[in-house]
């Protein structure tokens, strides 16, 4: 006679859960402990480099959401377009990164920050100088390997848990 369903499965399960009681938890205490995001993070807020931008508007054409607005004027003495207004409504942006990928002059970057919540809707619409890089608005390495190389290594849960192999 073979006995199989006398509670052995329950006992096995109980063993697994009690073992976990003595393992280290995997969660992170967020405001105190911070993990490094991916080097290619498509984080909040686009970063735009005015010096490199030529006003070609490829980004605006690529954006599937149509959130980039560019107004240019022609400067005759320098014989080029001058960007008068570069406006991004980050409230509509889905952070797909297609604009960064499309920019032929590497003037657009995704943001590396992840704590850029705003209190008002109006603050989501950003233009011109607001879009520049700054210490709290670091560009991420998405589509820019040279930036990615300088960013800190991403923390991986895979490497944090060492107890079980």
């Amino acid at each position: 006679m073979k006995f199989e369903r006398y509670g052995i499965g329950i006992a096995k399960g109980l063993r697994v859960t009690i073992k976990h009681l003595f393992h280290h938890p995997v969660t992170v205490q967020y405001p105190e402990q911070r993990l490094n995001p991916s080097r290619r993070t498509r984080g909040n807020e686009l970063i735009w480099d005015r010096t490199k931008c030529t006003g070609c508007a490829t980004c605006a054409k690529t954006c599937p959401q149509g959130v980039i607005k560019i107004i240019t004027s022609v400067s005759t003495e320098e014989n080029k377009y001058v960007v008068e207004k570069f406006e991004v409504d980050t409230g509509y942006c889905i952070f797909c990164g297609l604009c960064v990928e499309a920019c032929p002059y590497e003037a657009l970057f995704m943001g590396y920050a992840y704590e850029r919540a705003k209190y008002r809707r109006g603050e989501l619409v950003q233009a011109n100088e607001m879009l520049g890089a700054s210490p709290e608005r670091r560009p991420s390495g998405y589509m820019h390997p040279e930036i990615a190389a300088q960013l800190p290594r991403q923390t991986l849960l895979l490497e944090r848990i060492t107890e079980e192999e």
Binding site: R5, G7, I8, G9, I10, K12, G13, R15, V16, T17, V26, P37, S38, R39, R40, T41, R42, T58, K61, T62, C63, P64, I94, F95, C96, G97, L98, E101, A102, M110, S140, Y142, M143, A148, R153, Q154, L156, L157, L158, E159, I161, E164, E165
Partner: protein, 367 residues
């Protein structure tokens, strides 16, 4: 003397802990027994198919992320395959392998959620769910590493993938491949033989083989019923014909079989990833594709075996920069058509786990 009784109608959802999104089941109950059930959906309708008609071909990729948001990579792949078929674009070898790795990782992540929430529906109070989320987190970490986002990857491109993998990726993947089988064993230890789970899931919600084929179910739901049908084998896309793997199938088609099929598929996915990693060739990851692609007039259907079943994109081109029509064959929706046949006669508690065992994603059903 028999007492006069009358059935009553219970609205399960749209806001209910176990409807995995905003799904509603109008259940007519006789006591606890379900006499009739009517699925009601559409609460998450965003008009993705219509939106696709006015976006450029490459701009649709982020849209597909939002279909089955637990398996964005698979959606990406299905779509780009359809476009590549439509415009006859070649894909570099390395990109094909990367696609396979990503999609199989995605399958593991999606099945972890599917199985976890199924077990959670059975009443195992979040323990399997959280254990599985822990492993999903590792997968998501890796996909984040290559694509830059944790849920809506937008990684595949027409004619390849957006970027090559970073240097840290392969060591991490290797580590994951070593760890994961142990964790799958742990899940099995936790609940596979649990008597209560067996009593709850075995023989419950049987989907007979013939019915499964007739409603054109696919994915683990179909394979749980014992049909050996997997598009990766039946109509190999990408480079799937170069890998060796098995198609796990169930025997009777009950909830337990579907659960086991998913767990076994995770093991097979690990096998595929391992082979793909070993064979990964060097080279470019993206072929030159015009920015505003104008495919020739015609139509194409690209389909893949997504974690939930056969995911297909049917595209019609009129030689403009946006498709004339984009239809999505969402596996969740079609698997859901068996709901009534599976649930009638079972109790309300069974209905919940039957629904959980189909593993649907509302983003895909309502589109």
């Amino acid at each position: 003397m028999a007492l006069r009784t009358e059935p009553f109608v219970l609205n399960v959802g749209p806001v209910h802990p176990s409807t995995h999104g905003v799904f509603r089941m109008r259940a007519t109950l006789d006591g606890e027994v379900i006499v009739n059930i009517e699925p009601v959906f559409g609460y998450l309708h965003r008009g993705i198919e219509k939106l696709a008609e006015e976006r450029t071909y490459s701009g649709i990729i982020p849209l597909t992320d939002r279909l089955d948001y637990l398996a964005s990579m698979s959606n990406n792949l299905a779509y780009v395959l359809a476009v590549e078929k439509l415009a006859e674009i070649e894909v570099p070898e390395r990109a094909e392998y990367l696609r396979v790795i990503m999609v199989e990782l995605q399958r593991i992540a999606s099945h972890l959620i599917g199985v976890g929430s199924f077990l959670n529906d059975c009443g195992a109070f979040f323990t399997p769910f959280l254990y599985m989320f822990r492993e999903r987190e590792k997968v998501v970490d890796m996909l984040d590493m290559v694509s830059g986002q944790r849920l809506t990857y937008n990684y595949m491109r027409i004619g390849g993938v957006s970027q090559d993998i970073p240097d840290e990726f392969l060591p991490a993947l290797d580590k994951f491949l070593k760890q994961m089988p142990g964790f799958i064993d742990e899940y099995d230890q936790l609940l596979k033989e649990n008597e209560i789970l067996l009593a709850r899931a075995k023989g419950v919600g049987i989907l007979p083989k013939e019915l499964a084929i007739n409603i054109s179910a696919s994915g683990p739901v179909l394979r749980g019923s014992g049909v050996k049908w997997d598009i990766r084998k039946a109509d190999p896309y990408s480079v799937y014909d170069r890998f060796e793997f098995d198609i796990p199938t169930g025997t009777v088609g009950d909830c337990y079989d579907r659960y086991r099929v998913r767990v076994e598929e995770m093991r097979q996915s690990l096998r595929i990833i391992k082979q793909a990693m070993e064979q990964l060739p060097p080279g470019a990851v993206r072929s030159e594709v015009p920015h505003l692609l104008r495919p020739p007039v015609g139509e194409a259907y690209g389909h893949i075996e997504s974690p939930k079943g056969e995911l297909g994109f049917y595209l019609v081109s009129d030689n403009s920069i946006a498709p004339y029509r984009c239809h999505i064959r969402a596996p969740s929706l079609i698997n859901l058509t068996a709901l009534r046949d599976m649930m009638i006669g079972w109790k309300i508690a069974d209905a919940i786990i039957i629904f959980g065992s189909i593993d649907v994603c509302m983003g895909e059903i309502d589109r």
